[in-house]
């Protein structure tokens, strides 16, 4: 047995030592990456989509409005256990239909849901105000 073979980890034979060394490096990279992804994906998503300016329920509502292209959609929470799927039968979602459907909703940028919501609330408040002033 050569000196280098003595230093090999159990299970690794000399002809495969180099392969195992590279596999170990690859496994370490993947494990670290999955650990970081597992740790930071949900917090990262929360930040991108507007938390804490938006609560989870508000974020859910905003995502529904984008998904179904319908500003009147609100996230029902808690959702009734035996109710049909929340989107069942909806007619508002916009798609370009062909061999494959292509969604028409727009890409959501960093914290853009907060901006979209603020603008909608401002629009609704202005509309309410003008309606009130017209009625007087």
């Amino acid at each position: 047995m050569s000196i280098s073979a003595k230093r090999l980890p159990p299970g690794t034979t000399e002809p495969n030592a180099r392969l195992h060394r590279w596999l170990q490096r690859g496994l370490f990279v993947c494990l670290t990456a999955l650990a970081l992804e597992g740790t930071f994906t949900f917090p990262g998503l929360l930040v991108w989509y507007g938390f804490p300016d938006l609560s989870l329920v508000e974020m859910c509502s905003e995502l529904e409005k984008v998904r179904y292209s319908d500003d009147s959609r609100e996230c029902v929470f808690p959702y009734p256990f035996f109710a049909p799927s929340e989107g069942a039968g909806q007619k508002t979602a916009q798609d370009r239909w062909g061999v494959q459907p292509q969604p028409r909703y727009k890409r959501i940028g960093f914290r853009e849901l907060v901006k979209i919501r603020d603008e909608r609330l401002a629009r609704q408040a202005a509309a309410k105000l003008s309606a009130a002033s017209e009625s007087h």
């Binding site: 299970g11 690794t12 034979t13 650990a35 597992g38 494959q100």
Partner: protein, 232 residues
């Protein structure tokens, strides 16, 4: 039978070494296993990550002390399979059975909007709920109760250096090759639907998901390792 069990006060280097090694391995696993399991829940990841790192430090310390603990490559492989299976299972189980929970309707659909519209486009519109992308539900039904459960069990056996763990990891890693090829093919065929107006489209998906290639790294090791290190 050890000298200690015979009631003899004779120092036995081998027994001591075995006991110290076993304790060192258990100590490392006591940190790594809960850490890995917490990280597979995604939400509790920030708690699991430091626990896991602490376990890795303990494992490395034991190796440097010359104790007979699991080879580092087996530790990395076993825990990587646990995390790979766990993270896939949690995401797909949420979509399969908890699609109307608040977590699914915010974080799963947000993930879909960011990386793969299969989890955003017409979400919760099918009678079964959850992802509406063609083929996606079939993969969830096929893989979560079968492959990922088997992979989790195999990884635990493998970390215990059991022969059945090694054998079942080979079987389930070949399953892994099949689902990688099938999943990527399905996703590519419906790419228009899945990557239009996504925050980080195709390249984002690959950067995010390439680290799930565990089977491709595991198979060469599992077929070339000296199987005598695994016990019945």
């Amino acid at each position: 039978m050890s000298t200690a069990s015979l009631g003899l006060d004779v120092p036995n280097g081998y027994d001591d070494h075995q006991t110290t090694s076993r304790e060192a391995q258990r100590k490392a696993d006591r940190w790594m296993l809960p850490g890995a399991i917490l990280m597979t829940t995604a939400v509790l990841g920030p708690i699991g990550f430091p626990l896991f790192l602490k376990g890795m430090v303990e494992q490395r310390k034991a190796l440097l002390q010359g104790l007979s603990v699991r080879p580092m490559i087996c530790t990395l492989l076993g825990y990587l399979v646990i995390m790979d299976s766990g993270l896939n299972s949690i995401g797909w189980s949420l979509d399969l059975v908890a699609h109307h929970s608040l977590v699914s309707r915010t974080l799963v659909t947000a993930w879909g909007n960011m990386f793969d519209s299969g989890y955003f486009w017409h979400y919760n519109e099918l009678w079964i709920g959850g992802a509406g992308a063609p083929g996606e539900k079939s993969w969830e039904i096929a893989l979560v109760p079968t492959v990922f459960c088997m992979r989790l069990a195999a990884a635990i056996g493998f970390l215990q250096m059991k022969r059945w763990g090694h054998q079942w990891l080979i079987v389930t890693c070949w399953f892994g090759v099949i689902y990688w090829v099938g999943y990527v093919a399905n996703m590519t065929l419906f790419a228009d639907l899945r990557y239009t107006h996504v925050v980080f489209p195709v390249w984002g998906w690959w950067i995010y998901d390439i680290f799930y290639i565990t089977p491709f790294l595991a198979i060469p090791y599992l077929h070339t390792v000296n199987r005598e290190v695994f016990t019945d």
